[in-house]
C-alpha cells in the first residue's frame, strides 16, 4: 500500500541559486498516522508544511521535489485545484487560532463556509446545522448556542477547538497542526492534544504535528522527523528514537529537555543553529557536534538507512562522546 503523503527531495529557496531553506527533505506518512516534525526556529519545519499547501511566503518557491497526496502530484496542481484541496483534503491549524478566524463573522458562518466551498451546501440553516455538528465533534459545550458567537467570545483553548472544527469539517485526509498548543495553558494543551488524537483515530486522519515540544511528540505521535538547518537529520518510530537517538542533534535535544524528575544538569548543545547558506559542505551540525571528525565536514551527508524504519543523516550514528561512553 502506498503512503497517503509522499514527499520526495523537497527543496525550497528564494531562487535556483539562493541557499535552500528546506534542503531536499523526503518523508512518508500513512493514513491515520501522526508524525511529529521537530526542530528549532529556522529549521524549515513550518516552510515544509506551508509548501504542502502551496502557501509559501512571497518570494519563496519550491525549487525541486515532488509532493504526492494519495498518488496525486500537488506541485502540478493549478491554483484553483490547490484551493479546493486546502480545507478539503488537507487542513491546517496554526499556533494562533485568531489568525485563522475572521473576527467579524459568526462562528457558524465561518465553519459553514467550509461546507459551502467544498461540499456545495447552500442555505444558512443547513450550513449552521453542519457547523453545530462540527463544534460538537471538537467537544465544544452547548454548540447550538455557541454557533452564533464571534471568535472573541471564545477563550484561547475554545478558539483553537473552533479552528480545528473548521479544518476537519470536510473530513481531511491530512491535518497539519503547526504549534497548535504553544499559546495555551498546560491543562488546556493536554485537552486539545487529546482531542486531536481522538479525531485522528476516529477518522483515520493523518496528522503532522509541528512542534519544539519533545515530550508532546513522544506522547502523541507514531513517528518523528527531526529537522536541522533545512534537512531531516533523523526520522523513525518515536519510541525507538527517544530510547536511543542515532543523530547527535537528536541526542542533544533530548538531553536539553527539562524533566520533572530530579535536578540533574541539562545536557547542552554548544553554539546556535547556522543561518541558511553558511554551511558550505559537510554536515550542518558538525560545528556543534561532540563526535564530529574531519570527514563530517566534507561532501553531502545523506540519510542513512538504519533498519527498523529508522534513518539518520550521520556518518557516526549512535556514537557517543568519549566521556559519556566511559560513564
Amino acid at each position: 500500500m502506498s503512503p497517503l503523503l509522499h514527499v520526495e527531495t523537497l527543496r525550497i529557496a528564494a531562487g535556483p541559486h539562493a541557499p535552500a531553506l528546506v534542503d531536499g527533505i523526503s518523508l512518508e506518512l500513512d493514513r491515520g498516522k501522526a508524525l511529529g516534525l521537530v526542530g528549532e526556529s529556522g529549521a524549515g519545519k513550518t516552510l515544509a508544511c506551508l509548501a504542502l499547501l502551496r502557501l509559501l511566503p512571497e518570494g519563496l518557491h519550491i525549487q525541486d521535489g515532488r509532493i504526492r497526496l494519495d498518488g496525486q502530484e500537488l506541485t502540478a496542481l493549478t491554483d484553483t485545484e490547490i484551493r479546493r484541496l486546502r480545507g478539503g483534503r488537507i487542513g491546517m491549524v496554526l499556533q494562533n487560532p485568531l489568525s485563522s478566524l475572521n473576527p467579524l463573522m459568526r462562528i457558524g458562518d465561518q465553519i459553514g463556509e467550509a461546507f459551502a466551498v467544498h461540499r456545495g451546501v447552500r442555505g444558512r440553516t443547513a450550513l449552521w446545522k453542519l457547523a453545530v455538528e462540527a463544534l460538537r465533534a471538537v467537544r465544544i459545550p452547548t454548540p447550538e448556542q455557541r454557533v452564533s458567537a464571534y471568535a472573541h467570545q471564545f477563550s484561547g483553548g475554545m478558539r483553537q477547538r473552533v479552528a480545528i472544527a473548521m479544518n476537519i469539517a470536510c473530513a481531511p485526509d491530512l491535518l497539519i497542526a503547526d504549534e497548535p498548543t504553544t499559546a495555551l495553558d498546560a491543562t488546556i494543551r493536554l485537552q486539545v492534544l487529546r482531542l486531536l488524537g481522538d479525531i485522528r483515530r476516529e477518522r483515520r486522519m493523518a496528522l503532522i504535528l509541528v512542534t519544539h515540544d519533545l515530550p508532546m511528540v513522544a506522547r502523541f505521535c507514531d513517528d518523528v522527523a527531526v529537522m536541522y538547518a533545512g534537512r531531516i537529520v533523523e526520522r523513525g518510530p518515536v519510541e525507538a528514537i527517544f530510547a536511543n537517538p542515532a543523530h547527535p542533534y537528536t541526542r542533544g535535544l533530548i538531553g536539553a529537555t527539562p524533566r520533572l524528575d530530579g535536578r540533574r544538569r541539562l545536557a547542552t548543545i554548544a553554539g546556535q543553529p547556522p543561518s541558511p547558506g553558511s554551511i558550505a559542505s559537510g554536515c550542518a551540525f558538525a560545528p556543534r557536534c561532540d563526535v564530529a571528525d574531519a570527514g563530517c565536514r566534507q561532501g553531502r551527508i545523506d540519510l542513512l538507512d538504519l533498519g527498523e524504519q529508522r534513518a539518520a543523516a550521520c556518518r557516526k550514528p549512535f556514537a557517543r562522546p568519549p566521556a559519556e561512553a566511559a560513564a
Binding site: E40, M158, H212, A256, T257, P258, L260, R263
Partner: protein, 323 residues
C-alpha cells in the same frame, strides 16, 4: 550576601470594566497569598494565565502595592513609593529578568553599554573600573568579550538573554525575579540558560523568584514550588514533595500535562474568570474528585507534612489514593 523574602497574606484587587458602559467590577488577582523564600534558594511559581503569578512578581518588585498583607526582604518593607534611600536599597537588592530578551534591550546600545549602564547610573566606580566590571560580567554569563561592541540586532535570542542577565547582575543584586526567563528561547539555547541560572545561583548565592507556565522548567530550577490557582496558593512545598507526592488535584493535572505517559485523568474545562470565582473551593468546577462539601466550603491551606501545604478538602484521602 543573600536575601530572604517574606510574603504575608497578600491580596491585590484590580477594578476592571468588561465593557465601556458597564460598572467597575473587582478582579481579585491575589487572595491572601503567604510564601517564604529562603536565602539562596529558588521559589518556582506555577499557574495558568490569570492565576496571579505575574501580579505577585510585580508586588515583590515593588512596582505596585498590595491592598492587604506585607512583603519584606530581610525584614525590610517592599512596596511602591518607598522613601528615596529605601527605594534605592530595593533597586540594588532586586532585579528582574523578563521573558522577552528582544524587548528588554535598547536596540541602539552596545552590549557593553547595556551591561554597564546601571553602574554608571548608580555611580559605581570610575569609567575604567566599570569597563573592567563589564568584562567580568560578560565572562560570568558566558558571553565572548568580542561581543561587547555588538548591538542587540546582531545577537541571537540566547545571547540577548545572557546580556539581560549580565545587566541585571551588574549592580550585584541578591534577588532575581525571573519571569518566564527561557520560554522565548529555542530548546538547545533554553538548556544553556537554565544551566547558567543554576551556576549563577551556586556562585553568587542569589535568591530566585521564578515564574513559569512550564512545570518542567520550574521543577528543574526550584527548591520550593508554589502552585497558584485563581489568585490563591493551592499547594506549596519542597520541589520533590510537590512533584512526587502532589496532594492537590490541580497540581496532579499539571504534572500529568507535563510528563509524557502520565495517566492521570485530564481535567475538564478551563480556569473560571477571576471576575467570577466559584464558591467554595476555586477548583471544584473542574475537579474530578469534588464532593458537595467542595462547592460550599473553601478549603484552608493545611500542612500535609513539614513545609508541604495543600488547600484541598480531600487532601488526606488523596494521600491514600496516591499510595
Amino acid at each position: 550576601m543573600s536575601a530572604r523574602i517574606h510574603i504575608e497574606a497578600v491580596s491585590k484587587t484590580y477594578p476592571v470594566r468588561t465593557s465601556l458602559f458597564s460598572r467597575h467590577r473587582e478582579l481579585a488577582a491575589l487572595r491572601g497569598v503567604s510564601l517564604q523564600i529562603e536565602a539562596g534558594t529558588t521559589l518556582g511559581l506555577v499557574g495558568e494565565s490569570g492565576s496571579g503569578k505575574s501580579t505577585l512578581a510585580r508586588l515583590v518588585m515593588g512596582a505596585e502595592n498590595a491592598d492587604a498583607g506585607k512583603i519584606s526582604i530581610d525584614g525590610r518593607d517592599v512596596r511602591a513609593g518607598l522613601p528615596r534611600a529605601a527605594d534605592a536599597w530595593l533597586r540594588r537588592t532586586l532585579q528582574p529578568v523578563l521573558q522577552d530578551p528582544y524587548g528588554a534591550l535598547n536596540p541602539r546600545m552596545t552590549v557593553a553599554e547595556t551591561v554597564g549602564e546601571p553602574l554608571h547610573i548608580q555611580r559605581q566606580g570610575s569609567r575604567a573600573e566599570i569597563a573592567a566590571r563589564v568584562r567580568e560580567l560578560l565572562e560570568l554569563v558566558g558571553l565572548s568579550a568580542a561581543l561587547a561592541t555588538s548591538l542587540p540586532v546582531a545577537l541571537s535570542g540566547g545571547q540577548r538573554q545572557r546580556v539581560a542577565i549580565a545587566r541585571a547582575l551588574s549592580i550585584s543584586p541578591r534577588v532575581l525575579i525571573l519571569d518566564e526567563p527561557v520560554s522565548a528561547l529555542d530548546m538547545s539555547v533554553q538548556a544553556q540558560v537554565i544551566n547558567l541560572l543554576q551556576d549563577l545561583q551556586d556562585r553568587l548565592g542569589l535568591t530566585y523568584l521564578l515564574i513559569s507556565h512550564d512545570l518542567a522548567v520550574v521543577a528543574h530550577l526550584s527548591t520550593q514550588i508554589a502552585v497558584l490557582y485563581l489568585g490563591q496558593v493551592v499547594e506549596a512545598g519542597d520541589r520533590n514533595a510537590v512533584i512526587r507526592t502532589p496532594r492537590h488535584p490541580y497540581t496532579r493535572s499539571l504534572i500529568a500535562a507535563a510528563e509524557p505517559g502520565g495517566e492521570v485523568e485530564a481535567i475538564q474545562g478551563e480556569m473560571p474568570s477571576p471576575l467570577a470565582p466559584p464558591s467554595g473551593c476555586p477548583f471544584h468546577p473542574r475537579c474530578p474528585q469534588a464532593v458537595s462539601e467542595c462547592r460550599s466550603t473553601p478549603p484552608a491551606l493545611r500542612r500535609i507534612s513539614g513545609t508541604h501545604l495543600a488547600a484541598c478538602n480531600l487532601a488526606d484521602s488523596a494521600q491514600e489514593t496516591a499510595a
